[in-house]
């Protein structure tokens, strides 16, 4: 573990040089402890795979004092301190080529039937390592090894928000329309980022995520309720 200054208002607390649930859990546990103890001078925190960026106000706490206070919390930064995680269900329509436009090609590349690909993808449980890059975008782990696939040779210029994609060892849900190199297997009618909603962000670091396969009719029905703001996501 080491502290790396990130300008005059932030310090990066970097754990091991690897991506793993174990390391990421320590990152999130440290973040939780910093918030819980309301460490003097801390403004906000950004967890990622293996590092926690801590923004602070140097008028309230010095760099060395802050690093010392964080060091004191480190031994307790384990799974034990984290509150129980939420399980968020994302309905996902796979079987409409308009929404899951790469499903057939991905299945062929992986040597699976589309039904088998959907089954594998929708029965796995994913863990949100962190949210980042664009508003509400989850970085997740938990994809079955069988679904590892090289990214698209030519990234798409535009992938619609809600698209559920796979690439490398990752599964991704686009929170806003953006360019992307993932194979799009389907789409969720839920909004991971909705600037007009009272709570614009659906997922949080540490959430578990599952996908429920739905048909196009159900997709349209849920999408209409999302538009009308009458849909409540299934969170347990």
């Amino acid at each position: 573990m080491r502290f790396l200054p990130a300008g005059d208002l932030a310090v990066l607390v970097e754990f091991d040089e690897e991506i793993s649930v174990e390391v990421n859990t320590r990152v999130r546990a440290l973040e939780f402890l910093i918030q819980q103890k309301a460490l003097t001078g801390v403004v906000e925190t950004v967890p990622t795979f293996r590092a926690l960026l801590v923004y602070y106000d140097p008028r309230a706490v010095g760099y060395d004092a802050l690093c010392a206070a964080i060091t004191e919390l480190l031994p307790q930064a384990t799974t034990a301190v984290l509150p129980p995680s939420r399980l968020v269900e994302l309905p996902c329509c796979y079987d409409d080529p308009e929404l899951g436009f790469d499903l057939a090609a991905a299945a062929e590349r992986l040597g699976l039937s589309t039904a088998e690909l959907v089954r594998l993808h929708s029965t796995a449980e994913y863990l949100v390592y962190f949210i980042g890059f664009t508003p509400g975008l989850p970085y997740m782990t938990g994809m079955p090894d069988r679904l590892q696939i090289a990214r698209l040779d030519t990234p798409r210029v535009r992938v619609p928000a809600g698209s559920v994609g796979i690439g490398g060892i990752q599964c991704c849900v686009y929170s806003v329309e953006s360019p992307g190199g993932f194979w799009v297997l389907g789409r969720t009618p839920l909004r991971l980022y909705d600037p007009d909603a009272p709570e614009p962000i659906l997922l949080r670091p540490g959430d578990r995520v599952s996908f429920r396969a739905i048909d196009r009719r159900e997709y349209d029905r849920i999408a209409a309720r999302v538009d009308a703001r009458t849909y409540r996501p299934v969170i347990t």
């Binding site: 300008g7 005059d8 208002l9 990066l12 906000e44 967890p47 010095g62 890059f133 614009p200």
Partner: protein
Amino acid sequence: MIRLLDPGPQTTIQDLGRFGQLRYGIPPSGPVDRLAFVLANRLVGNPDGAAALECTLIGPRFEVDGPCAIAVTGADMPVTVDGREAPGWTTLVVRPGDVVKLGPARVGVRSYIAFSGGLDLPPVMGSRSTYLRGRLGGLEGRALRKEDRLRVFAAPMPRPRRVARRAVPAYGSEPTIRVVLGPQADRFTRAGVGALLGNAYEMLPQSDRMGARLSGERITHSRGHDIISDGIALGAIQVPGDGQPIVLLVDRQSTGGYTKVATVCSFDIGRVGQVRPGQSLRFRAVTVDEAHRLLREADTVLETGLREEIA
């Protein structure tokens, strides 16, 4: 009420920013040049965080329908009130029906217009700042358009003041921008870090509130340009494979996987944001301790920067 007659190319509503949301991927937004923004608010008697306008390269033209005070700071845009020239960095009293116009910036990029009382809009996630890419906050999450109408909170007329000459930043020359090396300076060659600190870098026109894109001597990596994605601090100087630096600003992505050679100090972010395309800047490294001392100095300049206007 303020009625926009001509919004200018990119005029947005900002306050000091939306904090606590970076862990959800939402940047703070707020003014690029915080010092100029805060001084504008203080000149009209507002709290530092009152919502005001940030204008880019060319200012807006608007009509006010009630008496209020305004102040224009930041980039040097020629100001007229009802056709008469008016100074920047000074409290200006405007009357109902007055048309205020800001012309193209002669020096600098971003100007700020504060209104006594502050702009009255509903805060979104605790802030009125506009985040354009996320279509969040401000007025419908977008830049202002012709015929937009903005309400202003009622407030007493402030006593007129001006910013002391020594507190007015100079945006013109080739500024030296203070940076703290890291968090990934060790991923660059000595020559690469030397290039960053030893050469002038030119501002590119693709720069925006997300990042200032610069061009100059290549900053070479020692072990590749990708890292395991981590958080991106305000002012992080990200260097992708082409070796050209990008200074990440208030609308930055919250996380990313490029190496960051150094981080611009908070008190120099506004100076980066005032460098015009084609104009250059230089970087100088300071320690964290030095940066904190310089930050306190910058605070002192701000606290003592306003003078009573002698009528």
